[in-house]
């Protein structure tokens, strides 16, 4: 018994020293999407402070890999909606100056796995954070040694079937009940943030041109604009500059495209970070 717990304690102490000496990579590799979401939330809760925070779904989560600007933090949750990230922002002591809310999948509910405050002591135990997981560190080291991250490029053949399914899905309007609940929750959180002196703006992520004006996109866009006429709204047309964007499956931008869209989005709010509106990553088209 004693040997087991002494071994455990020794490993914890040694590993804590290691993670103190070797900080985690910004774009560390995680085991799964769930782990990536947890890492995104933990980083924001425990150590990152940025004047602009982006909240959204997996669509806006594409920004995370596209920029390492200290001006902006991407708190988007893959598989979730902007409401999850907003609720995390509302709980944090250090507030941002501006929150940018992606509206594309706003009808999804809050994901309580990420929105609920974690056990208080986890803040003080960095070895339990996802970014410091030995598995994540090992995967990141392997990826670094190979000089690449697993960013799968799509082609026309691979994109065809997922795009067809997205088109079928976008032909259906979002649930009116879910929309009403989400808009109500969004309004409440925005009011809380406003009282704390935090500005909020809305934006629509560009998707494949064939999806932009289908019932799902159109109804969502119009409902949000009607519900929040006082907020600045940047639509997909503006962010894609009128051109068709390159996506992996009809809705998720490829890395270079995400960098370009983020650049345009931040440029619209240049006054918040005047010296830091451009993503550091090189933009290639």
């Amino acid at each position: 018994m004693r040997t087991i717990f002494l071994t455990f304690l020794t490993l914890v102490i040694l590993y804590s020293g290691f993670i103190e000496a070797v900080p985690p990579a910004r774009d560390s590799v995680t085991v799964s999407q769930e782990a990536l979401n947890r890492q995104t939330v933990e980083r924001y809760r425990y150590r990152i402070k940025a004047p602009i925070v982006i909240v959204g779904s997996s669509l806006a989560a594409r920004f995370a890999a596209a920029s390492d600007s200290p001006c902006v933090y991407d708190l988007s949750i893959a598989g979730g909606s902007a409401l999850t990230g907003l609720s995390v922002v509302a709980q944090k002591q250090d507030k941002p100056r501006l929150v940018l809310v992606e509206i594309n999948l706003l009808d999804r509910p809050i994901d309580t796995r990420f929105a609920e405050a974690p056990l208080w002591y986890r803040r003080y135990l960095p070895f339990t954070w996802v970014e410091n997981s030995p598995v994540s560190r090992l995967l990141t080291a392997i990826a670094d040694a190979r000089g690449s991250r697993s960013e799968i490029k799509s082609n026309a053949a691979m994109r065809a079937e997922p795009l067809r399914l997205q088109q079928a899905s976008y032909d259906h309007p979002p649930s009116a009940t879910a929309m009403a609940q989400s808009i109500k929750a969004l309004r409440q959180t925005i009011n809380v943030l406003r009282q704390q002196g935090i500005a909020t703006s809305l934006f629509e992520m560009p998707v494949d041109a064939s999806l932009e004006n289908r019932p799902r996109s159109r109804i969502m866009r119009e409902a949000v604009k009607a519900a929040f006429p006082e907020l600045r709204f940047i639509d997909a047309q503006t962010l894609s500059a009128g051109a068709s964007v390159q996506t992996a499956d009809g809705i998720h931008l490829e890395k270079e495209e995400a960098a370009l869209v983020l650049h345009r989005l931040l440029a619209a709010f240049g006054s918040v970070c005047p010296n830091n509106t451009a993503p550091v990553m090189e933009i290639r088209r």
Binding site: T7, L11, V12, P134, V135
Partner: protein
Amino acid sequence: MNYTDPEFPVFFSIFFIIYYSCRSAGLQIAALVLASLLFYSWNAPWLVTLLLLTWAITTITSYAVLKMNSDSVRRRIVTFGVLLNLSILCVFKYKSLIPMQYFAGSPFSSIILLPLPIGISFYTFHGISLLVDVYRGKAISSHFSAATTPKKYAASSLLYLVFFPQLIAGPIVKARYFIPQIGLKRFSDIPWYMACNTLITGFFLKMVIADNLSAITFWIQYPYFEWKSPPELAALLYGYSFQIFADFAGYSLIAIGLAALLGYRLPDNFNFPYSARSISDFWRRWHISLSSWLRDYLYIPLGGNRHGTWRTNFNLMTVMVLGGLWHGAAWSFALWGLWHGIGLVLERPFLSHTNAFAASRIGIALRIILVFNFVTIGWLFFKLQNFSEALLYLRTMITPNPYVTSRLTLLLIAMFGLPVIIYHVIGAKRFILSSTSSRLIKGAMLFLVVTASGPAVEFIYFQF
């Protein structure tokens, strides 16, 4: 409540102190029953009603069996009790197969709409085991006598049914094994090393291996698997094979470890099943408590292997298909049972004629690989409970497509599958690690539980 929920350690610690503060067996049993009911009803208190109904039926009928002298009356009562237990199981578990239109507006229709009570398959089998063991006289020999009061009998049967370490997903403990253990437990008798060893291995298998693999095998669902390459689909299937073992064996080890801390010994549920050399060997090693339950209470009463080859084969197929359906109301479970039944029937002639090659190291290794692959293909019908989706998965797995294999997926499955393979190699070869090495490894496993756990996912067998 789940063993991996953050509130469970708090619940167990408080209960542990209360439990060993009780100075009499009666108080300890009462505390254990109350804690078990609290554990069970944590998220859905109404579920306790059905559990208590099952207990009342089982207790009244089995006590009547204990007290009656006439064998024909005892047989009738035990049959009635077993049928009542099975009826409850069938109503709640197989209600999706019942045509709803015939019951519209009746009180039965509201029952049909209720969700499946967690653990019902397990506590129903416990109830049947108590009835049959009392009838056969097995449970009464050391614990119950004709002078046993109804109060003592009811308390013992309640504890047997609700004992929380095994309540939700087993192991399925036979009454004759558990009931004689009921009594006053002392703190000084706790087998600390065995309990901690078992708990650490269980939590490691569940939280590090199974939970991480669950995030990867998530893609074994329609239509996502259609966009994966054939090698990736094959790797995902192996990943699920490792995951379901780690999930269920992990759960069973946690249950055994917790029971040991409370002074009870539960039977082993897994004996390195992926090192099995035949399908029948696999079933002696996988979910041992269910397979031995089916053997004792179904296969042997059906006649076992005592009535010739054809009858034996029929019995094997029947037991495996019913064993498959025990998992849920889906034809894919029956197909999964049938798959194993066919395997058992087909291998029988070969088992008695093993040649030198089959007994050689290479022959044994090939047999283990063959059995592992057979079992792994069978898991697809377990994971994809829609039969047509399972067939589509198999077809996609053997048809070339333009999708690129994710190296990360292959790496992760290898990374989390390797400890399962090492666990089996150590077990199968009976490697004796020095006690110091063993403790160092356990310390490292505990470190990984704290630092490398996957997302908290419910145990796969909770749905059964």
